[in-house]
């Protein structure tokens, strides 16, 4: 699709957009942008062996933002017509109150990158094509283990079209596909029930759900669930923690990622305020936040402020390098935006957000890391995490893992929360292996009531000391 196709999709002309932006600046604001969005999403679900539920959603609207220094005026409308958009622009304009009026240059098209090409658009895939995937997974799940008593499977896909223009004359657009299959099982053994799940997600087309991935979905969900029958609790307290390669990247997301979002630093309320250029970790620790990984869930061709996305180094060889910037913070710090300005939808103003956050491989080996642990755990799968931005305490919930004693994996553990402090955990990363993995799970990050898709990754890592919930 080219620029004209996007203008047609939203039924607007460049001239109308110019008029709306002009209205946005009518009270003296120093910047205005306009964000059109059309999203359609579909879900089908299998429960008690039948695909007996479906849901679809259509979301259409346009958000108009006016900046006046660090102040933001925002309004949106769901009716895309010149009068309603001008009215919204007029509302957003009220953040400013001065006589100055900006000239808007001629719009120039900014072509976005292409990090997530898919074969068949989801709008062309009918429900009846998707149903057999769920039925096949369900059959496999029950064939794998007779202890499985319930299986719940869902198939979600969505397509979003974005058209963006601003008072600096940039006009750009993006097409953002997303899909996910999730499998959840309940198993029973001697009256004890356990539940776990597995999912695969990304900016992918239906071709991603190959026979091999269908197998993985069923196998992983069952394997994780029945493993919990043997699992217990670790002791409570501080201990060594090994983070398995892959979704353990949640550590980075919570411990450092949020604290490096520049809005918190601009307002001086992050524990990482004033840390740029300082040594914060061992020299083999390099952490990036990247929007350019092919077909990964957190990738974006352009951010929601029309800027190119990139691979941003948060920590390079142990030195703190860069925050994640949106327009406001980039201006505040006098740096280039990092393509991190994201929003949940046209209903929200953009904020600095993570994309795919991961640590690059290091010099150690996984076996060597496990062998080095005297008393600790290895955390393998996770459900959620959280952080206090200023205090720096972050937590993540470990669904499953293992106890390690004297260098040997002893027994499985489940359902424990881990809590630590961001800057301290960075210092306490003592080993990083060479086995990097990006997670393929469907992670969504929440901030100020806005959810955006993200991903994360990690090689096997050892943290000298974290507080583990147990009893």
């Amino acid at each position: 699709m080219n620029l004209q196709d996007y203008l047609n999709l939203f039924g607007v002309s460049q001239e109308t957009i110019r008029q709306v932006i002009t209205e946005g600046l009518s009270k003296g604001g120093d910047y205005c942008d306009i964000f059109f969005q059309h999203s359609s999403s579909d879900y089908i679900g299998l429960e008690d062996n039948d695909v007996n539920r479906a849901h679809s959603n259509i979301d259409l609207g346009v958000g108009i933002r006016v900046l006046n220094g660090n102040q933001t005026g925002y309004s949106f409308t769901e009716v895309i017509a010149p009068e309603t958009m001008k009215k919204a622009a007029h509302t957003a304009a009220n953040i400013a109150n001065s006589k100055s009026r900006l000239e808007i240059p001629v719009f120039s098209e900014h072509k976005p990158a292409d990090y997530y090409r898919i074969k068949t658009p989801w709008e062309k895939v009918e429900i009846d094509q998707k149903i057999p995937y769920l039925q096949r997974i369900n059959q496999k799940v029950f064939n794998l283990d007779s202890r499985v008593i319930k299986s719940k499977i869902s198939f979600n896909n969505s397509t979003t079209y974005i058209l963006f223009a601003n008072s600096e004359g940039r006009i750009t657009y993006d097409y953002q596909p997303m899909s996910q299959i999730s499998v959840s099982c309940i198993a029973e053994q001697n009256g004890q029930r356990e539940q776990d799940s597995f999912n695969l997600s990304g900016r992918r087309g239906i071709e991603f759900f190959t026979e091999l991935n269908i197998e993985r979905l069923a196998n992983e969900a069952v394997k994780r669930t029945v493993a919990l029958f043997e699992a217990g609790k670790p002791e409570a307290g501080e201990m060594e923690v090994v983070l398995a390669a892959g979704s353990s990247g949640i550590l980075l997301h919570e411990a450092i990622g949020h604290g490096m979002e520049a809005d918190f630093n601009r307002k001086e309320i992050s524990i990482f305020s004033d840390k740029i250029g300082k040594a914060v970790a061992e020299s083999f620790v390099t952490i990036v936040d990247d929007g350019t990984n092919a077909n990964v869930r957190g990738s974006i061709n352009i951010d929601d402020e029309g800027n190119d996305t990139e691979k941003t180094y948060l920590v390079e060889n142990g030195i703190m390098k860069s925050y994640l910037h949106d327009r406001l913070s980039a201006k505040h710090y006098g740096v280039k935006p990092t393509g991190s300005g994201r929003r949940e939808s046209f209903r929200h103003m953009p904020l600095p957000r993570m994309r795919n956050t991961y640590m690059l491989p290091g010099p150690h080996k996984k076996d060597e890391i496990i062998a080095s642990v005297k008393n600790g755990i290895m955390a393998e799968t996770f459900t959620n995490g959280q952080v206090m931005i200023g205090g720096g305490d972050f937590t993540f919930y470990v669904k499953s893992g293992y106890l390690i004693k004297n260098g040997k994996i002893e027994r499985p553990i489940k359902d424990v929360n881990i809590i630590g402090n961001g800057p301290e955990v960075l210092k306490n990363i003592t080993m990083v292996a060479d086995d990097f993995q990006m997670t393929e799970g469907g992670w969504t990050c929440g901030k100020d009531g806005q959810g955006v898709p993200v991903s994360m990754g990690l090689p096997t890592v050892k943290v000298k000391q974290l507080t583990v919930g147990g009893y």
């Binding site: 479906a54 769901e78 309320i269 992050s270 206090m388 972050f394 937590t395 424990v416």
Partner: protein, 457 residues
């Protein structure tokens, strides 16, 4: 009681963000008719409209000001016991027609499920005339300046609490909504209301760390907020009290949970009570009706009829008549939350699948009195992440709060976990306070638990 009967089945001319009651009724009627023409047997339609204003005042200036209006339509389609639901905010004439046609068409591909049908008429409310007083009639007269003044005043008062304060963000938001629900088998009902919220977030300097706290309140009415002084003090003192926080030794402690934090624990108790969790065998409370699931100190009533209540309603999302229900009596589980679909699957009568206003019984002691009586322990004031497992009852949460000694706060604590299993945990409830937190739809007082597990040093 209102009964709706639309004369025309044509696409209504006026579909916009200001639809009147009658216009919403005509639109619902048009959609039901269109869905039926396309092959649906039963249809449920929800139409909702909302206007919203929110703003934030930070460090001396307006940081954000947002205003918007939105609307949405959602439909549930039942065709020969095949079921699907759909929602859209694209109300343009052609788009809406296509939306309904596609909704019915996509339902055809699904497997028939004999339990999929609209609730029986006997479960719908008999009387919709009762006024629950959910609308602030003064809403239209509130100006942007009024809104700004509330946030500014809280901001200024909080900032003045201490020179250790680095940043204050005070927020204010309000919304007015109206909705209409119509079912093809004979139910329809309107709802309208307002909601107001305000509060502040305060960050303070503590060596390298910058601990933060917040205080946030919600109400149906603008004049039911606590005073700006109260909110500002709560947020600022909360953050200042965290200066010097650290973890203490792991072990079993007596725990006093502050009212607003205790809401999270009640939420953990309620999620395994849904009929879907019971039918899907993912609830540790399966089979526990009539049995003790908590100490006899715990009594929970679900009351949808509180005047001006944040969770008040005459009918739920399925149109099922609201009624007052006892959920837990003297620690004994009385009933699940049963919606019509999972109720049928379980062979149980539906009673409404979600909670409304929850009322915990209160005791006669304040936080200070309970702390005094306990002597030593942990006063938990905030959660930080963590999760619970409804299937097994296991839970583990990050926490912050205070260690108290001889009935007095001794030091702020953080970076610790509270862990256990809900089956044992709720039996350890020793005392309920006299202080239900009033700014939530769940009226939960401070709670005391005996000998629960914390991990720290």
């Amino acid at each position: 009681m209102f009964s709706y009967k639309a004369a025309s089945k044509q696409h209504p001319e006026k579909i916009n963000k200001m639809m009147t009651k009658t216009e919403k009724e005509s639109l619902a009627d048009y959609i039901i008719d269109l869905a039926k023409k396309n092959g649906a047997n039963e249809v449920a339609v929800d139409i909702s409209l909302e206007s919203e204003v929110s703003l934030q005042f930070r460090d001396g200036e307006i940081e954000q000001l947002q205003e918007s209006q939105q609307s949405g339509i959602s439909i549930k389609v039942y065709a020969d016991h095949k079921y699907s639901s759909h929602s859209t905010n694209d109300l343009r004439k052609d788009a809406l027609k296509q939306f309904v046609e596609r909704a019915v068409k996509s339902t055809r591909y699904l497997t028939a499920d004999k339990f999929r049908e609209l609730p029986e008429q006997k479960y719908y409310p008999k009387n919709l005339g009762r006024d629950l007083n959910l609308l602030d009639s003064d809403y239209k007269n509130i100006s942007t300046e009024d809104r700004l003044n509330i946030a500014r005043e809280i901001h200024d008062l909080a900032k003045a609490e201490s020179d250790k304060i680095i940043s204050v963000a005070a927020g204010y938001g309000d919304a007015i909504f109206s909705s209409f629900k119509a079912h093809s088998n004979g139910f329809s009902g309107h709802k309208e209301g307002t909601i107001f919220s305000t509060g502040a977030e305060v960050t303070v300097k503590d060596d390298d760390a910058r601990p933060e706290d917040y205080y946030w309140v919600q109400s149906r009415f603008k004049n039911k907020f606590p005073s700006p002084e109260f909110i500002a003090k709560k947020a600022a003192q909360g953050a200042l009290n965290k200066i010097g926080q650290s973890k203490i030794k792991s072990g079993a402690y007596n725990m006093l949970v502050e009212n607003r934090a205790a809401i999270k624990l009640i939420s953990m108790l309620l999620s395994p009570l849904s009929a879907s969790a019971i039918q899907q065998k993912s609830s540790y409370l399966d089979g526990m009706i009539g049995k003790s699931i908590a100490s006899e100190k715990l009594n929970i009533i679900d009351n949808p009829f509180i005047t001006g209540g944040l969770g008040s309603r005459l009918f739920d999302g399925e149109g099922i008549a609201a009624k007052e229900r006892t959920i837990i009596k003297d620690g004994v589980l009385q009933q699940y939350y049963i919606d019509s679909y999972y109720g049928k699957k379980l062979g149980m009568e539906p009673n409404g699948g979600s909670s409304s206003n929850l009322i915990l019984n209160t005791g006669n002691q304040s936080v200070d009195e309970m702390m005094n009586r306990l002597g030593n322990g942990i006063f938990l004031t905030g959660f930080n992440g963590g999760n619970s497992n409804s299937t097994t009852g296991d839970f583990s949460f990050g926490i912050s709060g205070f260690y108290f000694e001889n009935g007095k706060l001794a030091k702020p604590i953080n970076e610790m976990n509270l862990s256990g299993n809900a089956k044992d945990f709720w039996q350890q409830l020793m005392e309920v306070g006299n202080d239900p937190y009033p700014y939530s739809k769940w009226l939960v007082p401070s709670l005391v638990f005996e000998g629960v597990n914390f991990s720290g040093l």
